[in-house]
Symmetry: C2
Subunit: 329 residues, 2 copies
């Protein structure tokens, strides 16, 4: 059997890296026959298999049925607007992050019904640790409740519930994965409140200054882009029967303080790199970050075969290798 | 200040008992100025304050804005289709239990915006212990995750998330209460899988036979209709600031086995009543009930002032008093 895959959100950082990896391997369990890659801007992707790349908005009700009409075997649903935007624009956040996802699920349900139950694709959905809200235990376990403190986290938690119900009903085989903060993000600094977690590593590694807006004691939960792609591929190919009814999983990661991140930078690139970090506290960012989870016990995902780095040093090495960066402070 | 109240789902058992109590007391914290009572059939209610009683379907998009247009100060949102029906009719369940509720929330958000933020009603939503799914710990604590095993439970869990987000945003002051199984339900036997929990008490108390379809070791979580009304009134009048961001609460109840229920019946009405219970196992009901939660640690609700019976004997006494039944086997 050859696979048709659909990637929704293919122009984002994770979507691009997923497609690079799939293009390189040519397979996802089975041989890939064709890929349909969409995002709000047309993704630019090359691969040894045919690709249709398109710009579209999943919040427009005519779009989801068109995306599913080709009966893709595996669907990666990565598209969403980010936390800050979903908080600033309540209606847009619900329209894209909730209704867009639900319309994709509904389009699959209809094709499932049209096929007499034969069509039942694998669906991999990227959720977020934003489904959790403070106060937290020392490590958030696999059975901790989801009480998000943002509209974005609420939308992700709702999609997780829908994914579990649609899977239980047999409309598709859903796997929801809650990604850690992805570090080290390549590219230019961005304005996300979490941007500095990557910035304080990426910028000094290339000899540029970076601002650290919080105390070194701030602890956070990280995995590399390479691990994130690994999570997606494992979620697409694993035996989903192992999940039972609990289909949403906190992915493994590395819990480190900013101070520990800086120590890993020192080990990788020396004192000159560390000196490029400029400490400049930002009370707004400090307040946002204070509400974020810092540490997880992701036993269930690990026991199901999901793998991440174990130290922040490994995360830095993955960045240097994958981005062809030579540490050069 | 005099209150305008809106009761959505006023013709159901809990809705009727709530209105009887409010009619009797004439107040809900403040004096009640008027009540608007709706359900899919027109509720029949008498009270010392003016009542508008109407039949309407909250899943029809033109209805929710009309219900909220009168700017009610307190909204009781009790309407939903039951678990069995939501499982049998996927689309109807989502249309009423999810979209109907969401459209009420949205109608409030719009009036909130139209009023420049001044309109911010109290909203009491009845959720369910069906938001939880097996396997369970010995007692389900206040931080246990919601992994429902029915579409009904999924819809309730999603509404809880929306309620928390809309409250956090300041659109309304929401309180979500997860009701135990309500025992002893008055009236005729019904076909709900949980019906026997009430039937094995109610029917023998009136000298009629009742079927017990499960083993006496089955344990379940109960509160009386009187307690349910008490929960609603407390949720409507409590200081909601105490809830913080976690606005959905498992209500207190009594965890007893069927055998313990029968012992309480014996104490209330003697051996002759107990002899009216006919044991006839039903594998379908046994399987459904096996997936239900059996026991909770509802510390948070208790500490916030929610009160239930403490023994099943008290639940039987509440039934005898409130329904004017004389035990007469």
């Amino acid at each position: 059997m050859a696979l048709k895959i659909l990637v929704i959100g293919a122009a984002g950082m994770i979507g691009r890296k997923l497609m690079e990896r799939l293009a390189q391997e040519g397979r996802l369990g089975e041989t890939i026959e064709a890929a349909h890659c969409v995002d709000i801007v047309a993704p630019v992707i090359a691969a040894p298999f045919p690709i249709v790349a398109e710009a579209c908005d999943i919040a427009a009700p005519y779009i989801p049925p068109k995306l599913i009409a080709g009966l893709p075997d595996v669907i990666f649903l990565l598209a969403s607007i980010v936390s800050g935007e979903a908080e600033a624009d309540f209606e847009k956040g619900y329209a894209i992050n909730l209704d867009g996802t639900r319309m994709i699920f509904e389009a699959i349900r209809r094709e499932h019904a049209n096929s007499g139950g034969a069509y039942r694709p694998r669906l991999v959905f990227t959720s977020s640790i934003a489904v959790f809200g403070a106060p937290f235990p020392e490590a958030i376990g696999d059975e901790f409740f989801t009480t998000p403190l943002t509209s974005y986290g609420t939308q992700k938690a709702i999609c997780e519930l829908l994914l579990a119900d649609y899977s239980r009903r047999g409309f598709f085989e859903g796997v929801g994965i809650r990604l850690p903060t992805i570090s080290v993000r390549p590219g230019l600094p961005n304005k996300a409140a979490s941007g500095f977690f990557s910035g304080i590593i990426r910028e000094p590694l290339s000899g540029r200054e970076a601002v650290l807006p919080v105390a070194e004691t701030v602890r956070h939960w990280h995995a590399s882009p390479r691990s994130a792609v690994g999570f997606l591929i494992h979620a697409a190919t694993m035996d989903a029967a192992q999940l039972g009814a609990r289909r949403n999983l906190t992915m493994p990661g590395v819990a480190v303080t900013v101070g520990e991140q800086i120590e890993a930078l020192r080990a990788a690139a020396g004192e000159a790199a560390v000196k490029l970090i400029r400490r400049e506290r930002d009370p707004v960012i400090e307040r946002i970050v204070a509400g974020w989870p810092t540490n997880f016990d992701a036993s269930r995902a690990r026991s199901l075969g999901f793998r991440s780095e174990e130290t922040f040093g490994q995360i830095i090495r993955a960045y240097l290798e994958d981005e062809n960066v030579v540490a050069n402070p």
